[in-house]
């Protein structure tokens, strides 16, 4: 069976800096795979290559067997990959609901004729998309904020909205870049719960996270990067006791 996502020898270089080198990773549906590593290990660069922000210099990215390496972000999104950002990136001047509606655009009928004539098909689709948008808001617990400006939401709620927006593109693989960053312990627990519920929807989740407790509880597999190179890969217990991983982390954390 072809995995949902498979990278083969994925590499990205900036000038002389090898930000990501030869990353091989397979992600199956219904799995949560975490990417960890010290700061500057290339985790976000890896995400940027997957989502189409960067064009990789080498290797391939197979999403459901199709090579998406170097494709435009909106094409990759259409193929079923969606993401969030470490520093939240909503459309702050739009309402919470509109932030979800915008993510449904690619799936909606765009014929100007159907807009003008307000055809039955068009109106039916509008209605079902609106209901669907509310169900996404409900899923992350934001339904009562639907008409608020997204920029005015509290920080934790903005994170949830960003996840709901990513889900509204109907992805099969969701990339979460530090979803628990800046959250208090209570919010972190809720975020872990939310991520497990996302897996229950049948999605695969690729997660960058610094909270080791979060990573160890939730992940099925962990990939460890150091200076862009994969140094360990496997189940949480295996990675936790890997001498190379310990060395990479201690080397980073001893410095102030």
């Amino acid at each position: 069976m072809t995995p949902l996502l498979e990278t083969r020898g994925l590499s990205k270089t900036f000038g002389g800096l090898k930000a990501v080198q030869n990353v091989d990773l397979r992600v199956e549906a219904n799995r949560i795979v975490s990417v960890i590593g010290p700061n500057g290990a290339g985790k976000t660069t890896f995400f940027n290559c997957l989502s189409g922000i960067y064009r990789p210099d080498g290797g391939s990215i197979l999403l459901d067997g199709h090579n998406i390496a170097g494709r435009a972000p909106h094409e990759i999104c259409r193929r079923g990959l969606s993401r969030t950002f470490q520093n939240i990136r909503l459309f702050p001047e739009m309402s919470v609901l509109e932030n979800i509606l915008v993510a449904q655009f690619q799936r909606s009928s765009k014929s100007p004729l159907s807009l003008l004539l307000r055809s039955r098909y068009f109106c039916g689709q509008e209605k079902s998309h609106r209901e669907e948008a509310f169900s996404f808001l409900d899923f992350v617990g934001l339904a009562q904020h639907a008409n608020a400006m997204s920029g005015s939401l509290a920080y934790g709620l903005q994170r949830r909205l960003e996840i709901a927006r990513a889900l509204a593109t109907k992805p099969r693989l969701l990339l979460l870049d530090e979803p628990a960053a800046g959250m208090n312990p209570q919010e972190t627990v809720e975020m872990v719960h939310l991520i497990s519920r996302i897996r229950e929807l049948g999605l695969a989740v690729l997660l960058i996270e610094h909270h080791m407790k979060v990573v160890m509880t939730i992940s099925d597999e962990i990939l460890v990067l150091d200076h862009g190179v994969p140094i360990a890969h496997g189940a949480p217990e295996k990675v936790r006791n890997d001498p190379q991983v310990i060395k990479a982390y201690l080397g980073e954390e001893v410095a102030p």
Partner: protein
């Protein structure tokens, strides 16, 4: 005729002219709203609409005779298609590749395209003023309705009606449709928009096409109103429309219309009080005054909105 009705007539002239500026100003403000750049070639797209319409009408009247409404309607359609094509080509050729460059690069490119188009028309089409075919414009400019002691020509009614309909339609499109949401998302954050599946290039191309088609409508109206087409009309009207967009707060659609109306009325009142040769002095004086008091324009958005 009483001086009261003269004043009313002047005001109607001002509002009609303002409505035409508004149609052009909408194009400036939409492109600025989405890309944060001033499309200086927009005036030329307007001028090309003028010429396309008159040439099309000429061809149609040879082909199947002088059916006034049919030929005018088709001429307007041809003008819109021509201008939309030019607007799209400008975006594709001169701006798309410069989108990530320094802000001065697309601006310079726009000035280049603007000059190029002006002199291209000057050298290949006409060096002199061309009149709008009287047979067609007379029906709209000579017939009028009598309203409260004032004469309003059919053309003025058409201009005002079209501007109101277009502005309302545009406002609806941007605020209440899927496309509008995608457009606003693109304006706020192009990369994020593409990451949620929005084909940003197509949205931007469509913005240019829409703005250009509106400019063509304005071009046809002005060439009938002033009864003249000339290669640098785009420069002159474009500058006024651009001023109107700044006056109202660039990037803001109701602002563009408001600014255009103020400009049109200022011109009309200046013509009444001092003579039309003072028009440019008064309009730009108004602009400077407004900008001194409200640097972002009358309905301008806060600085934070564009960052």
């Amino acid at each position: 005729m009483s001086s009261g009705s003269t004043l009313t007539e002047i005001l109607i002239n001002g509002v009609s002219r303002g409505a035409v500026y508004a149609l052009v100003a909408l194009g400036y403000t939409m492109v600025y709203g989405v890309l944060g750049m001033i499309n200086f070639a927009h005036g030329e797209v307007f001028m090309i609409g003028m010429f396309a319409c008159v040439y099309a009408i000429g061809i149609f009247s040879v082909a199947w005779g002088n059916h006034v409404l049919l030929n005018l309607g088709l001429g307007l359609l041809v003008a819109m298609i021509f201008s939309a094509g030019y607007g799209y080509a400008n975006e594709r050729i001169a701006y798309r590749r410069l989108r990530k460059a320094h802000a001065l690069a697309p601006l310079t490119s726009a000035i280049g395209i603007s000059t190029f188009l002006q002199y291209f028309i000057f050298l290949t089409v006409s060096k002199q003023n061309v009149g709008f075919p009287r047979y067609y414009s007379d029906m709209l400019t000579s017939n009028h309705i009598h309203l409260g002691g004032v004469d309003i020509t059919y053309l003025q009614i058409a201009i005002l009606g079209l501007t109101i309909v277009i502005m309302t339609g545009l406002f609806y499109l941007i605020h209440f449709t899927r496309f509008g949401i995608a457009l606003r998302a693109t304006a706020q954050d192009q990369l994020m928009a593409s990451l949620v599946g929005i084909p940003v290039d197509r949205i931007i191309a469509f913005t240019f096409i829409l703005g250009s088609a509106l400019a063509a409508i304005a071009g046809v109206m002005v060439s009938m109103y002033d009864n003249v087409l000339v290669f640098d009309a785009g420069y002159r009207v474009g500058l006024k429309a651009f001023t109107a967009a700044i006056l109202g707060g660039i990037g803001n659609i109701p602002g563009a219309v408001l600014g255009a109306m103020i400009l049109g009325l200022t011109e009309a009142l200046t013509t009444l009080g001092f003579g039309s040769e003072w028009n440019d002095v008064s309009t730009f004086a108004v602009l400077m005054l407004v900008l001194l008091l409200r640097p972002r324009g009358l309905l301008g958005e806060r600085v934070a909105d564009k960052v």
